[in-house]
């Protein structure tokens, strides 16, 4: 049984972890090529994910930290741990502590 969802409508929405705590907003979906297909590897949740979108050159990252935005952090949620419900909020099936964290300083998984 498979279901098709409109991903663009979930981008920017809040993700809660297994214990209902707020992880952050869903900002990125990392995929890899598999033959002629694109397959999801992991999801990026939290403000640091937003910074990823601008592929800022190294200099700009330093400027961003000066303004204290460097405190941005995020979580990497594996593909099997995020549920897209028909109604209501996105849920992560794992606890925040079990998730790989990353912050703007060193982009994870690049």
């Amino acid at each position: 049984m498979s279901r098709v969802i409109a991903l663009e409508r979930f981008i920017g929405h809040i993700v809660r972890d297994a214990e209902g705590r707020k992880l952050g907003h869903l900002h990125e979906v990392r995929v890899r090529r598999q033959g002629d297909d694109l397959v999801v590897r992991e999801y990026v949740v939290g403000s640091a994910g937003l910074l990823e979108r601008f592929s800022l050159a190294q200099f700009a990252r330093e400027v961003v930290f000066i303004f204290g935005i460097g405190r941005m952090h995020g979580y990497v949620v594996p593909w099997d741990s995020l549920e897209f419900p028909e109604k209501g909020e996105l849920r992560c099936t794992r606890r925040a502590a079990d998730l790989q964290r990353f912050s703007a300083e060193r982009p994870a998984g690049k």
Partner: protein, 405 residues
């Protein structure tokens, strides 16, 4: 040789495009009310616009894409649509002011009320876009725009006192009427850093097919073009200071501003002013209409290009057609042209942060700019511009209410 011609043309276009109803109205008011003491505002605005125009050109040259196209991709449809709608609305108000400027010039000449001219003027602007190509618009506005050099000639004829002139570049509050002074300062900067300049310039770089060899020429065109445009704007302030202020004439309507060239050119003064106002506004109206059609097409991914016949870019040409029609309706409504112009300039200042902020992000985006990303210096300048824009945005509205009389 072709490149030098391209640079010369680029510079001349910037002169034609730079001066518009906003810069003429605000400069005339500033000179008549406060003499030279608002020259610094034009200088400050020009420095900012030179950097932003150079960057928008470099962005197109290096990435082959325009700023608007990249803003949607980087900020997403939801994050992009509200600032985009705001900038379109402001463009519409400024276009209505430009069309109003042409109508007022015809009213001065013929005595027939400006609303009567709204439809013919809008038709003339539209027809040139409908039948013309990008070069026709670019070269037309450029060569015609040179008539505005008469303000420069007037400055030399009237001979301002150099030391007093130089003092005008130092910002300081006058004895009284602070609100009006600050309002004019904000409006002048708003008129100078007009968003349509970047939209037109960055799309123009693609229409003209500028490749990476244009990176340096782009810097000259942006710097010299905007500087020449600014010099004429300053000339309007100086001429108003010498021709209107001593007579005690404050510019509340265009009819009063039309007197300013009479002392320098006698019988020709009135006609030169009317011609300058009409031509500067006509050029700006062409660029504004195209800039709006460019930004809508690039935002929704449509095919666009002034060189294409209307048939092969139907949505693009329909966009500027609808835009001109709406602007004409605003003029038809009989709103006082001078008040509409000043209001549009203040509103341009309010959305300046939305105009300047994307540059900070996009000029540092390695995927678009490769190794031509902003240098530290350029980034610091953009940061300062965004800061200035934020301050202007906060003070523009209160000043509009208190200081616009």
């Amino acid at each position: 040789m072709k490149k030098i011609l391209g640079i010369a043309l680029g510079i001349v276009t910037s002169i034609g495009g730079f001066l518009d109803v906003g810069s003429i109205a605000t400069s005339a008011q500033a000179g008549a009310a406060f003499g030279y003491s608002l020259l610094w505002a034009v200088l400050l605005g020009t420095i900012c616009v030179i950097f932003l125009v150079e960057m928008s050109g470099r962005f197109s040259i290096v990435s082959g894409h325009t700023i608007v196209d990249a803003i949607r991709k980087r900020f997403g449809f939801a994050g992009f649509i509200v600032p985009f709608a705001a900038s379109l609305l402001v463009n519409l108000l400024v276009l209505a002011s430009e069309l109003g400027g042409i109508c007022v010039a015809l009213q001065l000449l013929t005595g027939i009320r400006f609303q009567v001219w709204a439809i013919p003027v809008a038709l003339a602007v539209w027809l040139l876009l409908w039948l013309g190509t990008f070069d026709v618009v670019e070269d037309g506005t450029a060569l015609l725009g040179l008539v505005t050099l008469c303000f420069l000639v007037a400055v030399f004829t009237l001979g301002p006192e150099p030391r007093e002139l130089a003092a005008g570049f130092v910002p300081r509050l006058p004895g009284e009427e602070h609100a009006h002074y600050l309002f004019l300062a904000v409006s002048i900067i708003g008129a100078t850093i007009a968003p349509y300049l970047f939209l037109f310039y960055s799309s123009g770089a693609i229409e003209d097919k500028w490749d990476k060899s244009y990176i340096t020429p782009n810097r000259y065109i942006a710097t010299l073009g905007m500087s020449f445009g600014a010099i004429i704007s300053m000339a309007v302030i100086v001429v108003a200071a010498l021709a209107l202020k001593p007579e005690g004439i404050r510019v509340e309507e265009y009819e009063q501003a039309a007197l300013m060239l009479v002392p320098a050119f006698g019988r020709w003064g009135f006609y030169l002013f009317v011609a300058s106002l009409a031509i500067a506004c006509f050029g700006a109206a062409l660029e504004l209409s195209l800039a709006s059609a460019y930004s809508v097409s690039q935002a929704f991914g449509w095919n666009w290009g002034e060189d294409l016949e209307p048939r092969s870019a139907a949505r693009f040409s329909s966009a500027y057609t609808i835009f001109i029609a709406l602007a004409a309706l605003i003029v038809l409504s009989g709103l006082n042209p001078m008040k509409l112009t000043l209001f549009s300039m203040a509103i341009t200042a309010v959305i300046l942060p939305l105009t300047a902020l994307p540059f900070l992000v996009l000029m540092n985006d390695a995927r678009y700019m490769g190794e031509h990303v902003n240098s530290h210096f350029s980034n610091i300048v953009v940061l300062l511009i965004v800061l200035l824009a934020a301050i202007l945005a906060v003070v523009a509205i209160p000043l509009e209410i208190i200081g616009s009389k």
